[in-house]
Each structure stands twice: as C-alpha cells, then as structure tokens.
C-alpha cells in the first residue's frame, strides 16, 4: 500500500491545522489508516504550528523522523526552514511563500531570511521545491481564495497524494466541512490542484527553484 508522511508547517492563524484535519477526514472516508498529530504549543495566533500526518501506514507512531517526510508543505517562509531536517531527499517541498514577520524583524532587530536563502537550503536537502507565491493566488469575485485550501489543492496535485485519494474525495470533505461556503473553498482547492509542481526533472530549470503558477 502507498504511504505518505506529510509535514505541514506554518504559524497560528494560517489554517495549517485545518489542512491536516481535512486530509485526515479524507483518509477516514477512503478507509485509509492515518495519524494526525498537531503541535501548536502555546500559539493562539502567530506562533509556530506544525502538523504531522501519516497516511496509509498502520501501527506507526505519530511523529515523522528526520529525513522521513515524503512531503513538507510550509505556509511561512522563515518557518519553512524548520521543516528541512524532516524532508526526504527526493521528496517534495511545497513553500507557500507568505512572509509573516515577527515584530523583532519589523523593527529591524532580528534578521529575516530571503526567499533565495530558504530555497537554497531546501534544495540542498535534495527535496524537490515548488514555490507558490501568495500574490499569484487567484481571486474569486475580487477576494483572494483561502490560502490553506489553495495549498491543499496543490498537495493533491502531487503524485504521492493523488495515488492515495482522488481530488473528488477531498472535495466531498470540503463540502461537508463548509456547507455554506463550499463553492468558494472548492474554487480555492481547484486553483491549487492546477498548480504546476516541481518534479525531479524540472528541478533547477528555474534559478531560484520557483515555478510559475498554473491557472486552470
């Protein structure tokens, strides 16, 4: 059976836990064994958050070991660095390049990494990097689609995920979660699904590892 160890990283308030929760429900609906372990510490908003999802394997512990994540998906540039030790060489690394600067950075007290710093570090790990730019997130009726569901769509575009679930399975979970706002969220999801992702072959075709967003 295909298995997927997925590490999601971000800061409190971005909806990282929701991505994990939706995938867990999708796994449940597809009758796949799954473990979902959220770590949010004391963060109400703005603190480091991570989710470890282990899908398809039975009898495994909740934590993903170093170098063990098939996919690392990060929603904040600086925090993405914390996922690098867990990235599997030849695995996938999705960086939704949102910058959520801590106050110390805004005040010029602390340094903040550039996209190149982070991309270089990710690529040095051997993982295939795809950078998704928030500015290129599609808008529906003038409102940008929800970033976390957009990223969820991009995750489903990865082969390792799409062998576990069909996009339809996840769409059903989204509809069940937000019955009143299903359309907007499905749009966000589909926008993510149509993103063109880095593969082993295309890696390095773009100098900073960034690939343009596809529009469906």
């Amino acid at each position: 059976m295909t298995t997927c160890d997925l590490l999601l990283i971000g800061v409190g308030g971005q909806g990282v836990l929701t991505i994990g929760d939706l995938l867990l429900r999708a796994a449940f609906a597809a009758d796949l064994p799954a473990s979902f372990c959220p770590t949010k510490g004391m963060a109400q908003r703005g603190g480091f958050v991570k989710v470890e999802l282990r899908i398809g394997a039975d009898g495994v512990g909740p934590r993903i070991g170093e170098g063990g994540a098939d996919i690392v998906a990060a929603m904040e540039r600086s925090e993405a660095l914390k996922g690098i030790p867990f990235a599997k060489p030849d695995g996938n690394f999705l960086l939704y390049d949102q910058v959520w600067q801590p106050t110390g950075v805004q005040l010029g007290v602390d340094a903040y990494p550039s996209l190149k710093d982070v991309s270089d570090a990710i690529e040095a790990s051997g993982a295939h990097l795809t950078v998704l730019r928030p500015s290129e997130r599609p808008a529906i009726g003038g409102t940008e689609v929800s970033a976390n569901v957009f990223l969820l769509g991009a995750l489903l575009a990865l082969p390792v995920m799409s062998t576990l679930f069909a996009a339809k399975d996840v769409e059903r979970v989204i509809e069940a979660r937000w019955p009143k706002h299903a359309e907007a969220n499905l749009e966000a999801f589909r926008a993510g699904l149509s993103v063109r992702l880095a593969s082993g072959e295309s890696l390095g075709s773009s100098p900073d590892g960034e690939l343009p967003l596809g529009r469906g």
């Binding site: 600086s78 030790p85 949102q98 600067q101 340094a111 903040y112 710093d117």
Partner: protein, 671 residues
C-alpha cells in the same frame, strides 16, 4: 555548647547556624517542631512564618532563595504533594541562595495520612536528598545542605523520619550566624526562570540532571556516605540508610552473640539514596558476596543497588525488600535489623564455606559509564534541541517569540504596569514583576519584557512574597490570570494579606481560560457557564479576602491601569488591581462587535512607535515585506511605506491609537 534538642529543633538550629534568612512552613506531624521552635526565638533580620499551605510556603522560600538568600521550608510528607507543582518547577530552574525543603516522613504512621516515601519524589525530581540518622546528624546536615544547594545551584531536600524528628538527644551546637548582609539579587533571565517553550524546558532538564551529578560528586568528596570495608574481603555487606543506622550496631552485636553471624561485615552508611552513592556501593559490591539493604518504606536504594550490580556483572545476593525478607510497611527498629542480618548472614556464611571469594577488579571507567551514554543518547533528540551548527539552515529562521494576540486586553495591562514603573522613577530591571501560568506569561516576551519568572499555577504570589522577605527595596508586583487565580492564586493572596506582606497583585481577568483554547472557568460570564452552573465573581472573592485596596480597571484604558498600579506601588499593605476585559478572540467568537483601527497614510510618518510599543500582530509595514504580500515589489518609492492594519485581526482596542504621535491611526466606531 551542648544542649538537648529534638531532630526538628536540630534542623532549626542548623539552619540558624547556616545563616538562614527566610523560613516558611505548614504544620504537619512529625515536622511541626522545627518551625515552631524558630517562632519561640527572637530572630532579628530573619523572617519566619506559618504559610497558608505548603505550596505557598515553598514558593516564598524559593523567591527568597532566587533573591540570593538562604531559605528553608518545612512540612510533613503529605505537604510535599501540595508543594510539588512548585517544587518540580523550581528544581528545573535551580537556585541562587541555598534552598532547603525539610520534610519529615512518617514510617509506621504515627499521625495518620498515607505512609509515602518522599525519597520517591526526590528520585522523580532529580533532587539531592540528605537523610540524617540522628538529631546530631540533622544539625550537621542542615548546614551542609545549604552549602550543597549553593555549590550546585539546586534545591536540596532534607528528610527526617518520625523517630529522628521527634526524639530528643544531646547535641553540640554553635552560635547562630546572622544572615549575610548583601543586596538582593535581581537576575532577569527568562530561560532560567520561566518554562515557556520547549527549548527552555529541555535545556533546564539537562541542567537539572547535571546538577544531580555534581551533587553526587560533592557528596562523595564530603564523605557523607561512609563506607567501612572489613579488612578481610568477602562476607556480608550492609547498605543502611537514615534512622535504621541507629539500630545497626546493636543488631550486629546481637546476631553475632547468638552465633547467627560469622565473618567480616562491611557497612555503607548511606546519607543519600538520591543521588545513589554509586562509587561507594560499587566498592562494597566488589568486596562482599552478599549485600543487605536496610531502609524504611520503599526499596529506593535497593533497586539502584540491584541495577548497579547488574551493570557490574556482580553475581552475589541482595537481601532486602525485593526478595521478600523485609517489609515495605512500617517503621524499622532493632527487630527489622536483626531479621535482615540473620537472613543475609546465612547466605554470606554459606558463600564463605562454598568457595574462597574471587574479588572483582574495580573498573573505574565502568563506574562512570553513565555520562558518555547520556551524551550519546542526546543525539537521538529532535533538531529543536541541537545547537545552531547541528541544526543546519534552521538557525536562519527568524526568532518568533510568542506575543499576545491582536486586541488582547493583557497588552493594555502590561503597558499600564510599565508606565506605572516608569512614572515611579524606576526601570523594569529593578522592579520584580512575578509571572504566572497562562496567557499572562506572554508579558515576559518583547516588546514588554516585563515578567521575570513563571513557576506553577498561582506561584506569582508566593514568589513575590519571597522577594519581599529577602529584603528587596523596590516595590514588588505579582501578575496572574483569572483562571490561574481561581486555580492556585487565592491561598497566596490570603497569605500576603494575613502576614501583611506589602505587594501589588494585578489580576489580568479576561474571563476565560484562554491559553488552552478558551475554556470556561469560575469567573466566565453567566451566559457562557454550563447549564446549571453559575459565575463566581473574582472581584467579590478578592474583596472578601480583605486586601488594603481593590481597584477594577479596563485594560483598553491604559491610563487607568497606570493610575491604579501607580497608586498601589508604594502604599503599605496588599493592593489588588483587577484589569477586566474579555479575551478578544472569545469576544469576537461570541459576536461582540469590536471596532477597527484605520490608518491615514498621509499622516503616518513610519516612526513605528505603535509597533515598538504594542507589538500587535495586526500591525505591519506596508510594502516592506508586509504579511500578505511577500517581498517588496521593485520600484516602490519609500514614501509610500506606512503602517498597515490587518482588519481581519484588529479588534479596535485602540491601544496603538493612543501611542500614535501624528494621529495617523483612528479608531472607527464598531458597526
């Protein structure tokens, strides 16, 4: 000077000789006599009190010790359970001045309550515990406990049992020594004194284990665990701890005279089971073929000896509780010693007849194998616990200290306290503001950097009193959330009021247990209480306790906090300021409309005062890496930069408005 003293009095006299500054406790047989004795003496320059409970007592002692003074806290074994929440946290932080917790265990239960063996708590806590075997020993070890505490920077447990704490003996006592006259130590170091974060706690755990190792070495060098090996190798070895030592000589004489014991006997008189005297015990094992362990209650030393024997490949027999020879219940006296010696001697005698004993070589490296093993095992820890080089690219990530949410009422309270300190002509580095568990501890982080410490639920009050009794000259402020106040803060406040210990308590009352995800607590509003439950008004609770003043203020009105705290700071007595305003996230969830702050870009001069002062996550700098927009697009002219407000986060608390010098920020009326 010779005098008659009980074990309890001997501890008190030893502490006086050691220059103790603060002694607190809660009565409990068989420990009561220690503090009671101190209260009969005229002790200028020292503070002695019965506290509201053992936890408060320990927190006060810990506060005084953190301030650099020698402090002791007394209780019976059951009291340690009450104090434990604070004890384990202080154990992780360590101490500056000598800090002793004197506990009296009650094997045989002379006074009721569970017959627990507090050495188990020492083991669980990695805290050194000294176990005197007589009142004279208690006098000596009370003094050495302070030295040990300061030498390794750890609280030290001093454990007596009923037979020693209540028995009278003639002891040789020297003149008391007054507390050293020195300035109160104010050390601001949240990595040592708070528990907020995985890295802090893992580093503290490592330091705790290292302190116990250092204590073991200190104890070994002092010779507190006395090993007497027989001239002739082989025969019976005995590990004897605490009160049982008093019966050992008698028991050995009796069994020998009755012909039950032949051959040599070697004895390890153990003053500590935690840390276990491994070096001495290993030498005993190498010398003997049978070892008897004599200790009351649980087989704490025996298990450690068995583990050591296994590691050393020792094949002799250990006689004690684990083989069923001796009971885990009750007090040991002569009959227990005789029983143990009789059984152990029969094995030792048999072993001597069977074969001349081959002595195992003492392998020094093997005895110290624990340390490299621990170092190796650390590589198994996750990257969070590595240093920068080992963590690779992760050290490039921006520090993200957790701060309070946008609209959090605590922001106004911290700023109000800061302003009150400033207006009193003082700096944040000279005013002790104790912290507590929950969202309120976030005041330790930038931009506030206001809180000094965090121990356990309700500890802010006890710690504050400890600093007062240590002799601090600046005002002391304790801060606590509403839920934490209900949970564990009330006894500490009662204690301050009862003893008239001057301090200002600020209760940050947001109506919810927020840090854990907004659960209802006794103070949550009536409408949000479960069916059939009702609200307990914290203001009425505080008023009912009778502090010298109670002020209720709105933290969104920072000036009102400043005024109330400022009025309390130098006033004698105990003053309580209750900053009351519902948790912003919860208010929003409940549909209570807040306002929203807007920015006039023309007026914003980007002085960043709003950001610097409030640290509010809803504020950012537009087009310089603003939250939503990634990196700055090229070609932006700097004059277009200005403060931006994330309307999805802003609650319209207006605190940023109050600090803006150009009126660029405006609070829109709620709709």
């Amino acid at each position: 000077m010779k005098r008659i003293a009980t074990g309890n009095e001997a501890v008190a006299l030893g502490a006086l000789r050691a220059g103790v500054k603060v002694v607190t406790g809660y009565p409990g047989t068989p420990s009561t006599g220690c503090l009671e004795h101190l209260l009969t003496l005229d002790l200028p320059d020292r503070h002695v009190e019965w506290s509201t409970n053992e936890k408060v007592a320990f927190e006060i002692a810990a506060g005084a010790a953190w301030a650099g003074r020698r402090a002791m806290c007394t209780m019976k074994m059951s009291g340690v359970n009450v104090a434990y929440d604070a004890l384990i946290s202080v154990a992780y932080s360590g101490t500056n001045g000598g800090l002793i917790l004197y506990v009296a265990d009650d094997p045989g239960v002379s006074a009721g309550m569970p017959e627990q063996d507090t050495r188990g708590l020492a083991l669980m806590s990695d805290l050194p515990m000294l176990e005197p075997s007589s009142p004279a020993d208690a006098y000596d070890l009370a003094q050495q406990a302070f030295e040990l505490s300061e030498a390794v920077g750890s609280p030290v447990l001093l454990r007596l049992t009923t037979a020693i704490s209540l028995s009278h003996a003639v002891i040789d006592v020297e003149e008391p020594v007054p507390p050293e006259a020195r300035d109160v130590l104010l050390e601001k170091n949240i990595t040592k004194y708070t528990k907020a974060g995985s890295k802090i706690c893992l580093d503290q755990h490592r330091a705790l284990i290292e302190r116990l190792d250092k204590a073991a070495e200190w104890i070994r060098q002092r010779g507190l665990n006395r090993l007497d090996l027989s001239d002739e190798p082989g025969g019976l070895g005995i590990v004897c701890s605490g009160a049982v030592n008093a019966y050992l000589a008698e028991g050995l004489r009796a069994t020998r005279s009755e012909g039950l014991l032949h051959g040599p006997v070697s004895i390890l008189r153990a003053t500590t089971a935690v840390p276990f005297p491994e070096v001495e015990a290993r030498r005993l094992l190498d010398h003997c073929d049978t070892v008897l362990v004599l200790e009351e209650l649980e087989p704490i030393a025996e298990r450690q000896l068995a583990a050591l024997a296994q590691r050393a490949g020792w094949s002799g027999r250990i006689v004690g509780k684990l083989d069923g020879t001796l009971p885990r219940l009750g007090e040991y006296g002569l009959s227990a010693v005789r029983k143990g010696v009789e059984v152990a001697a029969s094995f030792a005698n048999a072993a001597r007849q069977e074969s001349p004993r081959a002595i195992l070589a003492l392998d020094e490296q093997e005895t110290s194998v624990a340390v490299p093993l621990r170092e190796r095992s650390e590589t198994l820890l996750g990257s969070v616990n590595r240093n920068d080089e080992e963590r690779g690219a992760e050290h490039l990530s921006a520090p993200r200290p957790i701060t309070v949410c946008a609209g959090c009422p605590h922001r106004g309270t911290y700023l109000g306290i800061e302003a009150a300190i400033r207006e009193a002509g003082l700096s944040k580095d000279e005013v002790m503001v104790t912290g507590d568990i929950g969202c309120t501890i976030l005041g330790m982080n930038p931009p506030f950097d206001l809180l000094w410490n965090e121990v356990s639920m309700g500890s802010s009050l006890g710690l504050a009193q400890g600093y007062v009794h240590a002799g601090i000259e600046t005002p002391v402020i304790a801060t606590i959330g509403d839920s934490t106040f209900f949970h564990g803060g009330i006894p500490g406040l009662i204690n301050a009021i009862q003893h008239n210990t001057p301090l200002t308590l600020v209760i940050l009352d947001n109506g919810w247990t927020s840090m854990t995800g907004m659960q209802a607590n006794p103070g949550t509003d009536e409408a949000s209480q479960a069916e059939g439950s009702r609200r307990v008004d914290p203001v009425r609770v505080v008023e009912g306790l009778g502090p010298d003043s109670v002020a209720v203020v709105d933290p969104y009105d920072v000036g009102s906090v400043t005024e109330a705290v400022g009025a309390a700071l130098f006033a004698p007595g105990v003053h309580v300021v209750i900053a009351q305003r519902e948790c912003a996230i919860q208010a929003r969830r409940r549909g209570i409309a807040g306002g929203v702050v807007t920015v006039d870009p023309e007026k914003c001069i980007l002085c960043m005062k709003c950001l610097r002062v409030t640290g509010c996550p809803a504020l950012s700098i537009r087009q310089v890496g603003s939250k939503g927009g990634g990196e700055s697009p090229d070609g932006d002219s700097p004059d277009r930069q200005h403060i931006e407000i994330d309307a999805s986060l802003c609650s319209g608390c207006g605190i940023c408005v109050s600090v803006c010098p150009t009126s660029a920020l405006r609070n829109e009326v709620a709709t």
